[in-house]
Symmetry: C2
Subunit: 698 residues, 2 copies
C-alpha cells in the first residue's frame, strides 16, 4: 500500500512492448498515443522493426538502451509472463499489462495471472492490470492507452474497474472539456488496486478530487484505512456498481470480482467519508463541483433569478437537498430594497423580474453573495431579450472570484445559453438547464464539508478480558460447536457489557441452586443453540417461584426433549426477572470484503417488519457508535416520546462500542445477536445472545 | 369545464390587438410571430397603422372585417377591460390577454382582473391569461407568443404557470428538436385554468402526452375529476413546484397562488393517476419517453451491451427502479449460445464483448427483443473502433419498428455518439450517456401502464344515516361549539362505523345507569373537547367496578374541574372495557385545494415518531381505501408477524371507506381523528374521537 508509484504515474521514459505498425491493432493505437503525447524517451519493443513512428525500436526488453521507468505490455497473454520476467531482470519496476486473457477468461487465464503476480512480487514491481485500457498522466503529458481520445489536464484523478467505461468517459470528457490529472484503468487488479492509487492520488498536489468507478474492493480493510486518511485532505467520489442482486451476478461474470453486499459498502463508505454517486450523472456532476468550487462555510443558499418559476424550482431543490434558504441580514434587505424595482421580490429567492438588465442582475448578485448568511449562490435566468447569457456569465465569473463562495447557475435555455458555457467553464461554475441539478451539486459540497469537519478519533482502548473470550472461542472451535447461545453470555461480560444476572445449570438441582439470590421469582430458559425461537418453542418460563425452580426446570427439560428429540441441550439458563424495558438489538456480522460490521436497531417489528436498522464497520470510535445509534428512524423513541422517559443512550452507545471491539478482536465471530438488549432510563442489560463461530478467520 | 376550446386552440382567423411596428416591443414580437406562422387571415388592431407586416391593420376591434376566432390582446393593463368588452360585443369568443399588471401586481391589479372575469362571464368567453407568454398550436401552425423561438410539431401538449419557464422550454426544445402539439402559458388563470386545457388536450387526437408545470391548482375537485378521465387515455406528467415551505412562500410572491400542502398534491396526483416529475430533467425525460414509445406489456427488461461495466450499471438501475431483469426462454438462450463467441455472456445482461461488429450486435438485439419474457430493451455501447454509433442506431431503429417494444439506449460517448442522435430521435428512442437515466424512462412507461390498468370503480353507495349527522353538525354550528369529542360518537355509528358500546352521562347518577349492561367493569372518560390528552390529564379511569361507577364518576368530574377550571365539561363518557388490540388512527383533514383528505396510520409511535401515515382524497372507492391501508410501511404488522394473528383488514378498509364518505358528505368537518380504532382479528372498534366543525364549507 505504501508503494511508491512515482515511476508509474510520472515516468521519465517509456517502452511499449508489442508496439505495432499495423493500424487497427491495439499495439499500434497504443504506441501512437504514447509517441504523440510523451516528451521523454519512448521506445518500441518488437523484433519486426528497427524504428516505429520515428522512435527507436528494439527486438526485446533486454535490448533496451536503458531500464525505462515504465514498460507498457501489449502482447498475447501467453507471452506476458516471459516479458515481465525480462523487465524484472532489466530493472524495470513499473509495468502496465494491457493484454487480456487472464482471470476474466477462465481457469487457464487465472493460472497465468497468478504467475504474473508471482513475478511482480519477486521483482517488487508496480504492476497495473492485466486487462486494462492503460493510463494517462497529464502532468508528464503521457497517454498510455489505446483509446481514440486523450485527456485534457485538470484536477480530477479518475480510476475505473471497467476499461470500456474509461473509453466512454474519455470521449465524453473531451466533448465537455473536462480535464484530468490522472486517468487509470484498473483492470483485473492483480497487484495494484484502487487502494494504492487512492493513496497516490491523495498525495498528488495536482489532484483536487478523486473519482472512481468500482465493481468491488479488493482489500476492504486497507481501503478503509487509506480512504479515511485521503478524505481528510480531498474528496473521493465513488460509483459502486453491481449493487443489486442481479448486478452482482453481472459483476462476477465481468471481472470475476466477488462483490460484497451493498449494505457493507454503504457502511464502509460512510466510515471513511467517501461520497457515493448513484449513477454516472451524479459521479461527474459531483466531481466537477468538488474540483472547481471552494467549500462553503455553511448550508445557507442565496438565490437570484429574473424568472419567478425558476426561483420556485430552486427553492424546492434547496429544501429537498437539506440545504437552507438563507435569511438575509437587514443591511442586505435594505440595500436590495434601495436598488430593485418595487415589484421585485427582495427576499430570498430574490426575483429581480424579467425586465432586469445586466446592471440590475449584477447588483443583486453582489448584494446576495456579499451577505454573511449566504454561503452559496444560485443564479437563475430564463431567456430574455435585454440580457445576454454572455453578460450574465461574466457577472457571475467576477462575483465568484470576488466572494470566494460556491456559485452554480441554471440558465434554462438551449442554443441561447451556449455562448456563455465557455465563460462559465473557465470560471469553474457548474451550469445546468435544471435548477434542481445545479442545487444538488451545492449539496455535495456541504456533504464534503461535513466529512472534513467530522471528528475522527481512533477507537478508544477499552478495558476488556480478552483471554476469557479467546478461551471460549477456542473451545467452541475445538469441540466443533460453532453455534452458541445463552451459555456464552460471559463473552459479553468479559467485554464489559452489562448482562442479566444468572447462569447455566446442567441439572434441575443446579438450577435451584443458581436461582438463589436472583430474587423471589426467576426466568428459566432452555439453553440450546439449536432451538432458534426459544419463546415460540415453549422453551422459556417466566416468573418461576424460587421454591418451584427445580421442578419446573425438570419439566422444561422433559418437554423440550420430547419436542426436539435430536437437539443438543446445554441445560437450563436461570436468569433474574427484569422489569419491562425498551428492547433493542445489537448484532455483528462478518462481511467478506470489509470484515466485521455492527448492526443496531430497535427490537421486534422495527427490525423484522420496518427493517429500521443501521450498519457500521468495526471497530467503532465512540463518535461512530453514537452516530450508528442515532441513524435509525426510530431513534426518537429511545429519547422518550409523549412523556415517557428516554433510555440510557450513553450506556447503549457504550455497548455498541464494546461489541464493535469484540467483533474486531475476534474475527472468528461470524454472526452475533444480542437480542434483546433491554434499555432502561438508567442502564442497559443484555438478556439473550446467539452467535456463530468459525475457525476460519474472515 | 366542458368548455369548447376549439376556437382558441384551432382558430381559423386571428387578430392581435396592440400589434406594433416598433421592434423591441412585445406587441411587435407577438404580431411578427403570428404573421410569420399562421396561414389563415391575420389582422392587426392599432389606430397608428393601416397595414403591418403586409397584413391589414384596423383602428379598433369594432373595425375588424370579421369576428375573428381568436383575439390576442397586448395593450396596457388599464385598457384591457374596454377591449375585452368590445370583443364580446363583436362576437369574439376566444381572447388571450398577454398584458401583465393584474392579480400579480397588487390590489389595483386584482380589481382589474375581477373586471376581466366579469366581462368574460357576461359574454361566455374563453379567456386565457392575463399575464401570459401566449400560446402555440402547431396543427394550425399558430405561434401566438412573443417568445424568440417557436415550436416544432409533435405529440406533447405543454402548459405552464410560469411564462418565463415557457420561454426556457421553447429555447431548449428547439435545441433538442422536441416537438409540441400545443404550448400554453397559463398566467394568472383568471378564467381558463389547467382543468379546461387538461380536458381539451385529453380530447385532442394529436396529443399523446400532456405535460404541465404548475405552482398550484385552481379547483382541486374539478382537477381530480377531469384528470382521472384523461389519464385513462393518455399520460399526464406534472412538475408541481412550490413544494417546500419556503417554496410555497415564493409561489405566493410569484403569481399570488396559495399553494396547498405537498401531501395533498401527492394524494390528489395518486388518486387521478398523474405522473409526478420531481424536476425539469424528469419532466422532459418522461414526456419524451411517453410520447414516443409504445407501452410495454410487463416489467421485464432485456439488456444488450458490448461493455461489461455498462451492463452492470444498467442492471443496477433496473433493480433500483423496481423493474425486472428478464429471464430468457430456453430458446433464446440456445440461439444466443449458437451465434455468440464463447467468452460472451449470453444471460441477461447479454455482453457481446468489445470486439462485436454490427452483425453480432444486430443478432443479439433481435434475439433479446424477440424473447417473449422481454418487455423492454436497453441497448448499451462504449465507443469501439469496429462499430459506429450510426450503424448501431440503424440496428435499433429497425428492431424498434419490428418488435413494437420500448427501446432505450445509452451510447456512453461524447462527440462519437453525436452522429447517431438524429437517427435515434427519428426512431423515437431515448438516448442518454447515463444508463441509469435511460432505464428510468422505462420505469415511467411501467408506471403509466399500471395507471391505465388500475381499476377505477366509483365509490360505492353506502347505507348511512345522513340525517342524524346533519342534525349534530347543525347543532355544533348553531351553538358555536366547533370542537367535539366522545359526545359525538354517534356520528360514527350513523355512518356504519363500529364503535365501543357506551354513552355520555351528564351526571354521576346517569353514569351509573349507563354502565349497566356494559359488563362488570367499565371505562370512564371525561368528555370535554377542551382537554386534548385525556389520559395524560388524568381524565380516564379504566376497569371501574359497576358498583363504584357513580362515586368514581363524581370524583373524576371534581378532579378535572379543579385541574381545568375554565374547561367546558360535557359530562362523563361511560364505555365498555375492551381487550387490548392493535391501535390504528384514521383521520380526516380538509385541504384548501382538494377538499377532504383521509389519513391512515398505525397508532402511537408509528404516527408520532415514524410518521408512517398515508393520505388519500375522499370519497374513496373500496380499492382506494384498500390501497391507502396497504401503503404504510408498517402494513405487515396488521397482517400479523411472528405468529401473532393479523387484524380484520377488510373491516378496517371498510371503516376507511365509510370515513371517506362522511368526509365527502360533510364539508363542515375540518378535522377528525378516530384515535384509537382498535383492531382485532375479527373486528375493528372505534374507541375515541375528536373533530372540528366549521360553518364555512371548505
Amino acid at each position: 500500500m505504501e508503494r511508491d508509484l512515482a515511476g508509474l504515474l510520472f515516468p521519465g521514459s517509456v517502452a511499449v512492448v508489442g508496439a505495432s505498425g499495423t493500424p487497427g491493432k491495439v499495439g499500434h493505437a497504443l504506441f501512437r498515443n504514447v509517441a504523440a503525447s510523451f516528451n521523454g524517451p519512448v521506445y518500441a519493443v518488437n523484433p519486426k522493426y528497427k524504428e516505429l513512428l520515428g522512435r527507436p525500436c528494439v527486438a526485446s526488453v533486454e535490448g533496451l538502451p536503458e531500464p525505462v521507468d515504465l514498460a507498457v505490455v501489449v502482447i498475447p497473454a501467453e507471452q506476458v509472463a516471459g516479458v515481465l520476467k525480462s523487465c524484472g531482470e532489466r530493472g524495470i519496476r513499473n509495468v502496465v499489462v494491457i493484454s487480456a486473457g487472464f482471470k476474466e477468461a477462465g481457469e487457464e487465464g487465472a493460472r497465468r495471472e497468478r504467475e504474473l503476480v508471482r513475478i511482480a512480487r519477486e521483482y517488487d514491481m508496480n504492476l497495473l492490470g492485466p486487462n486494462v485500457l492503460g493510463l494517462i498522466s497529464t502532468r508528464v503529458g503521457l497517454n498510455a492507452t489505446f483509446a481514440p481520445r486523450g485527456a485534457f489536464p485538470g484536477e480530477i484523478a479518475f480510476m475505473s474497474q471497467s476499461g470500456a467505461f474509461c473509453t466512454s468517459v474519455l470521449d465524453w470528457a473531451w466533448h465537455e472539456r473536462l480535464g484530468f490529472s490522472h486517468f487509470v484503468s484498473l483492470g483485473n487488479k492483480a497487484v495494484l488496486t484502487e487502494v494504492e492509487f487512492l493513496s497516490a492520488f491523495g498525495a498528488d498536489p495536482q489532484t483536487r478530487v478523486i473519482v472512481a468507478y468500482l465493481e468491488g474492493v479488493s482489500d476492504g480493510e486497507a481501503f478503509i484505512r487509506v480512504a479515511s486518511q485521503v478524505t481528510r485532505e480531498k474528496p473521493v467520489v465513488v460509483l459502486k456498481a453491481g449493487r443489486a442482486e442481479a448486478g452482482a451476478r453481472a459483476v462476477s461474470s465481468h471481472t470475476g470480482t466477488l462483490a460484497g453486499s451493498d449494505r457493507a459498502y454503504q457502511a464502509a463508505f460512510e466510515k471513511c467519508g467517501i461520497i457515493r454517486a448513484r449513477n454516472v450523472e451524479e459521479l461527474f456532476d459531483y466531481a466537477y463541483a468538488l474540483a472547481k468550487q471552494p467549500l462553503p462555510r455553511g448550508r445557507g443558499v442565496g438565490i437570484v433569478t429574473n424568472a419567478g418559476g425558476a426561483g420556485v424550482m430552486a427553492t424546492d431543490a434547496v429544501e429537498w437537498e437539506g440545504l437552507e434558504v438563507a435569511r438575509f441580514t437587514e443591511d442586505t434587505a435594505r440595500r436590495l430594497a434601495e436598488c430593485m424595482p418595487k415589484a421585485a421580490n427582495i427576499y430570498n429567492p430574490v426575483d429581480i423580474l424579467g425586465d432586469a438588465r445586466a446592471d440590475r442582475y449584477k447588483k443583486a448578485v453582489e448584494l446576495v453573495a456579499g451577505d454573511p448568511n449566504v454561503d452559496m449562490v444560485v443564479a437563475l435566468s430564463a431567456p430574455v431579450a435585454i440580457l445576454t447569457y454572455a453578460e450574465l456569465a461574466e457577472i457571475l465569473a467576477q462575483a465568484r472570484r470576488r466572494f470566494e463562495k460556491p456559485f452554480v447557475c441554471s440558465f434554462m435555455a438551449g442554443e441561447l445559453g451556449e455562448e456563455a458555457e465557455g465563460l462559465l467553464r473557465g470560471a469553474g461554475i457548474p451550469s445546468f438547464f435544471d435548477p434542481a441539478r445545479a442545487v444538488r451539486t451545492l449539496r455535495v459540497l456541504c456533504d464534503y464539508l461535513e466529512i472534513r469537519r467530522r471528528p475522527r478519533p481512533e477507537p478508544r482502548p477499552l478495558e476488556v478480558d480478552r483471554e476469557s473470550v479467546r478461551r471460549l472461542v477456542r473451545e467452541a472451535i475445538s469441540s466443533a460447536r460453532p453455534r452458541l447461545g445463552l451459555e456464552a453470555m460471559e463473552i459479553l461480560s468479559a467485554y464489559g457489557i452489562p448482562t442479566a444476572r444468572g447462569g447455566l445449570a446442567r441439572s434441575p438441582e443446579e438450577a435451584a441452586r443458581l436461582a438463589q439470590g436472583l430474587g423471589e421469582r426467576v426466568v428459566l430458559k432452555i439453553a440450546s443453540p439449536e432451538i432458534p425461537h426459544k419463546s415460540d418453542a415453549g422453551g422459556v418460563l417466566v416468573g418461576v417461584d424460587q421454591r418451584a425452580v427445580e421442578e419446573r426446570a425438570a419439566m422444561l427439560l422433559r418437554q423440550i426433549r420430547r419436542k426436539f428429540p435430536g437437539a443438543r441441550l446445554e441445560g437450563v439458563y436461570v436468569q433474574e426477572m427484569l422489569p419491562p424495558g425498551r428492547e433493542v438489538i445489537v448484532g455483528v456480522l462478518r462481511d467478506p470484503t470489509f470484515g466485521p460490521l455492527v448492526m443496531f436497531g430497535l427490537g421486534g417489528i422495527h427490525v423484522e417488519v420496518l427493517r429500521d436498522v443501521a450498519f457500521s464497520v468495526a471497530p467503532l470510535s465512540r463518535d461512530e457508535a453514537q452516530a450508528l445509534v442515532h441513524r435509525i428512524r426510530g431513534f426518537p423513541i429511545l429519547k422518550g416520546v409523549r412523556g415517557e422517559p428516554g433510555v440510557d443512550v450513553p450506556g447503549l452507545v457504550e455497548v455498541v462500542e464494546r461489541l464493535g471491539r469484540l467483533a474486531a478482536d475476534f474475527r472468528e465471530i461470524v454472526e452475533l445477536d444480542v437480542n434483546p438488549l433491554l434499555c432502561y432510563p438508567d442502564r442497559v442489560v443484555a438478556v439473550d445472545l446467539r452467535l456463530t463461530i468459525s475457525g476460519e478467520e474472515g
